[in-house]
């Protein structure tokens, strides 16, 4: 049997672990089960932006200055999202999930890890076009208050609208995308009616519990940042929250195959990563 070469953690790795522990103890944000490589990259980016020489120095600042923590939080979370990302996903929801959703008199939809809201608005548009928005209560949750605030405002960068329009059309959009927003001051202000029934809330998939029974949960490119233990926790939350035969949508490269919940969901659209809770 070959022995693995001894490759001890570097100082940076040790400091990183201490920082994450300190953030948890001091601010109750739990990043301990995030995957290491991308977290490290983002903390090193924070180091440069916040002009600290070492992670230990950053830790000292964050411990004694809540504003510095807020700044660090923008790096620890990953506010990268776009409208109708992977149009096939939305197309599959329209064709395969919506027909079931139409059978319910009222709907609860949860966008978990909603970031700055691009996906919330995308789903709202889809539900609106399918005549479901008025009977839908949407929950859009995230741990980053700044992202939630941006999501609440519903203003998105205007320069992205060309790409989003293309995505929207590929996603099976039935109208003119520009009907949904007003261009003003370099931003695209989306129709308030789309988010009238959206509750934006601070919720941590790492530490909080289920808050509602839901029919459909969309959680895309959130769990890739979690290790398997946390992925299992999250899938447990979703399983608990979803109603009988409820639907779960994940990111295009996310899998539940490695999870203890693999048998408790069945693929509805394998390539588009849409799953359905298996009957008990």
């Amino acid at each position: 049997m070959k022995k693995t070469t001894h490759n001890p953690p570097s100082d940076v790795d040790i400091e990183l672990r201490m920082l994450i522990e300190a953030v948890y103890l001091k601010y109750n944000y739990d990043f301990r089960d995030y995957t290491g490589a991308s977290q490290k990259r983002r903390v090193l980016a924070a180091l440069r932006a916040m002009e600290c020489d070492t992670i230990s120095a950053l830790q000292a600042r964050v411990m004694h200055d809540p504003a510095a923590f807020t700044q660090l939080l923008q790096f620890l979370t990953i506010p990268v999202t776009e409208m109708f990302r992977d149009p096939d996903y939305y197309l599959a929801i329209r064709r395969l999930v919506v027909p079931f959703l139409k059978t319910y008199p009222s709907l609860n939809v949860w966008v978990a890890g909603c970031s700055t809201g691009e996906e919330v608005v995308s789903l709202a548009i889809l539900l609106h076009e399918e005549g479901l928005l008025e009977r839908t209560q949407m929950y859009a949750t995230d741990i980053n208050p700044d992202s939630l605030e941006a999501a609440r405002r519903g203003v998105l960068p205007l320069d992205k609208m060309r790409v989003y329009t293309e995505n929207y059309q590929k996603a099976g959009g039935t109208r003119a995308f520009s009907d949904y927003y007003t261009a003003a001051y370099g931003g695209a202000l989306f129709d308030r009616a789309l988010v009238d029934n959206v509750t934006f809330a601070d919720h941590s998939l790492a530490t909080d519990s289920v808050f509602a029974e839901t029919h459909f949960i969309s959680c895309r490119n959130v769990m890739i940042y979690f290790n398997r233990r946390l992925q299992n926790r999250v899938l447990g939350l979703f399983h608990e929250s979803l109603c009988h035969r409820g639907f779960l949508g994940l990111g295009s490269k996310e899998s539940i195959d490695f999870s203890t919940y693999a048998q408790r969901f069945e693929p509805l659209a394998r390539r588009e990563r849409i799953f359905r809770k298996v009957a008990p």
Binding site: T4, T5, N7, P9, S10, D13, T35, G36, A37, S38, K40, R41, R42, I78, V80, D86, N221, I224, Y225, N227, R228, Q231, G251, S252, K253, E254, S255, F258
Partner: protein, 204 residues
């Protein structure tokens, strides 16, 4: 002067590798078509290949090479355990990292050097995970991605090989890495081909 097989072997003395990472951009599909068949059946190490690809589209590289190589070739999946003797390709649209527990992870943070997946991201994480037991190979390409990654591999004691820019279809990428990290070897593709199977040998 291109080094002989003995000279290549000498340069590897005292090293023992557990993984190989190969990066490239413009011209690198052709380079890999020439290079990867150097891997013999039963090759003991995992090989991570990362090329710049147009975002969002499905990549068929893993499929293409799976038909041509004697070992399993597949696209690296999130949280997948790395299996020795397997060739992995980074899929489009996501950064690929190697974790210290020898699994893959994906992320969709912004592109690095306009690239996602970025070579730097894979190489830097691989260097952290494998330390001196990682060999990094950087091929032809038209951008500066990979230079930082190769530098990290060197800094963590790993072994770095850059394609000779004169031999590369596009010299920018290898030239940038040579400038940044002073690689252990600068070789034309044909010599990298000779070197590749030597990397699994256990040198005393």
């Amino acid at each position: 002067m291109t080094p002989s097989a003995d000279a290549l072997r000498a340069s590897l003395r005292g090293r023992r590798f557990e993984a190989i990472v190969i990066g490239g951009s413009a011209g690198a599909v052709d380079a890999l078509v020439a290079l990867l068949p150097a891997l013999p059946a039963g090759f003991a190490l995992p090989v991570f290949c990362i090329l710049h690809l147009p975002g969002g589209r499905e990549s068929r590289l893993a499929e293409l090479f799976d038909e041509r190589l004697p070992m399993p070739v597949r696209e690296a999946a999130d949280k997948e355990e790395i299996v020795p003797g397997t060739v992995y390709f980074a899929g489009p649209g996501y950064h690929l990292s190697v974790e210290r527990d020898r699994t893959f992870s994906l992320s969709c943070e912004p592109p690095v050097h306009f690239a996602r997946p970025a070579i730097d991201v894979l190489m830097e994480s691989g260097a952290d995970a494998y330390g001196p037991a990682l060999a990094g190979i950087l091929l032809t390409g038209a951008n500066h991605d990979g230079a930082e990654g190769m530098a990290r591999i060197r800094a963590r004691g790993g072994f770095t090989v850059v394609q000779d820019p004169l031999d590369a279809q596009v010299p920018t990428m290898p030239a940038s890495a040579i400038h940044r990290c002073q690689p252990n070897l600068i070789l034309p593709l044909a010599r990298i081909h000779a070197l590749l199977p030597m990397l699994e040998m256990n040198e005393p």
